[in-house]
Amino acid sequence: MIAGKEISLTIDGKPCKGALGQTILQVAGDNGIEIPTLCYLKNLSPWGGCRMCIVEVQGSPKVVPACSTPATDGSTVITNSERLQGLRRLTLELLFSERNHFCPICPMNKGDCDLQQQAYGFGIDSIRYPYLYPALLVDVSGKYFGLDHNRCILCTRCVRTCDEIEGVHTLDIGNRGVKNQIVVDLNVMFGASTTCTSCGACVAACPTGALFDKSAAFHGPLSRCQQVRTTCTECPVGCGLVVYTKDNRIVDVFGDAESTVSRGHLCRRGRYETWVEPRPRILRPMVRRDGHLVPTSWGDAVHTVKTLISASNHGQNAMLVSPRVTNETMRTLQKIGLRFDHIGMFVADKESALCTSPEFSTDAMKRLDDADGMILLGAQPSREQGVVAAKIRVAVRKRGVKLVILNSRRSDLDAYADISAPIVTLERKFWNRVGEVLGNVKRPVLIYGAAAMTAVGVTILDRLTKVLTSQCNGGEMLAPIQLPTSTNSLALAAGGVEPVEDISTWLGVQPVNFLYVVASDEPDGGARLLKEPHVRAFLEQIDCVVVQASYESALTDVARVVLPSAIWCEKNGSVTNFEGRALPLRAALAPSGEAREDNIVLETVFA
């Protein structure tokens, strides 16, 4: 049997072509024949559990599930006979009788529920079986989403997603027979799970209201929301987002299946934190009068900023920008740069060395899919680039990829690693072991983060190169993947913006007497600038700080003027991800209050 060889079969009387190895469902789909499904989800392994996709194959007395039955050359398949429709209807009726599917009080009512849509399709106005009305748990202990067992049809789409996409296998099926139900970890409440990453992929996969986003529940049907495709700006991966909005507010945020970077997957930060976590917005321009920030007009605020700049000593005014700003804002900065003596971006911890030699790692996400060995050096994707962490977990668990973690902070990935050394020794024995683990690896990938760019990191890299050269039989080291921490730091660095880590030194050396901070939509409002106590004292002393930010913070406390920035879902433009792809940002909402996009604010102020 040669997989991929062309086969011909007849489906519902129509001659169809397919490839050996494809399932009946795939061949039918490719040939425009729709078969109803419930437990099937593209990109997951087939389960064959719901029996909605049953078909008749000529010569077989039994009906077979199309999602998990290979298509065979010369076969004749019927997808839509009276017998099949009767059986599918029966399946739906049994599903309804088994649990408590009360549509009027379900958050997925009105078009968001596959079960409901299927039942409408079959015109099910009543069922022929007694309802079981089981007393089942509604688990709303999780932070972002709830699990209502009353609405679960045990399709295991969540279980397979958690296992095959996020790679943590928090969910599985417990108990036997009619008592089957989804279990979290070793049967704990969702909120008590030690493995769940809150990526929310299970919720996106659920065909009913069993898993639902708390913040989206009962805020109107998604099917009647506007959808805007944009890019997540929480980290440099740049996952695709679909933002669902209604009446200029967000109803829910899902991963964009069309995204070449993330293919629909997201981590907790992109899926929830940006819109569920309460963050106090700055909605109006403010200027400080008699020690208090008072709201004012844009005209007055801009005038005040201009006055402050012209009064500042020549050679001593500086601008600090967030590494989250868009490429368009960067171009504006390049235009107005001459107005400032010093422009820097306040990068993350240890990130400045990485930005000194910015390297885009072309097709990094695809290379992670192809690698058979991964070395993680000075990076912490579990905390910072969740979708990359998911890829690493899946690679180890599903493909048996060798994983070596060096000089990185402890994380859940350690449990998947062949070797995990938060502190690396130079002992021969250790490196021999690294060599053994990577011995048969043909396509190793080195993923290095900000913490790799230290003297220790360089030494480790040197050892690693030696080990790989001498031990990997015929293997070739693929181009390493540079994994920055901040969203657009590589593009900004490549565009000539100086990375600044030690803020107090930078301010003191310049020395600065006027500071303009573009904090943009940094979740902490840019307050991490004040992490070192003498920075705050310094800024209080110069008393000439302009803050352009989306969220209130300790930084606004030292500002003379505060200008409101638009946030991620209010921005247009682009960011460049760590692969070097310029990814589009499309505004899903009009800016809140009087907020404006960063580049527009800068163009207004420095016109």
Binding site: F96, N100, H101, F102, C103, P104, I105, N109, K110, Q116, Q117, A119, Y120, G121, G123, I124, D125, S126, I127, P130, Y131, Y133, P134, A135, L136
Partner: protein
Amino acid sequence: MSDKPKIKVATAWLGGCSGCHMSFLDLDERLIDLAGLVEFTASPITDVKEIPEVDVGIVEGAVCNEDNERVLGTMRARCKVLVALGDCALTGNIPALRNRQKLADVLERGYVETESTQAGEIPNAPEVPKLLGTVRPIQEFVKVDAHIPGCPPDADAIWYALTELLAGRQPKWTPVNMRYD
């Protein structure tokens, strides 16, 4: 007016919120057309209590107590075509949410523990119908001839079902004309 004898209709309101009957009144001006075709007998709308022999019996609500069961039995015995109106009659719906608790706990909560209740007690008078252990849809008690899903079904769905039945046809539900909410 035609001399054709009018079709006799009775409606009953079992364990439900009466929203289905309200939705029935939403037929608005179509009620006048309907009145030309049918004669309303016992119904919460006419306030006639005793169900006579009728052609069509329409039942809203789930079977929650002994009285619901009795009324449903009477309706079935005295009508030719029995129509289940709305999700409570079809699935148990909201009234059936209590099925996850023991009846004694439900009564205790409702009549004694409620925050606004002082010295409450569970009614035990013989006039008050006893609650059944679980709330059930009507087709688990009697044969139902036609179903109108919805919570409540909108007037268009009710009109469609009634006109089909009056024309001697079984209503056919499709994604266009049916919904469960």
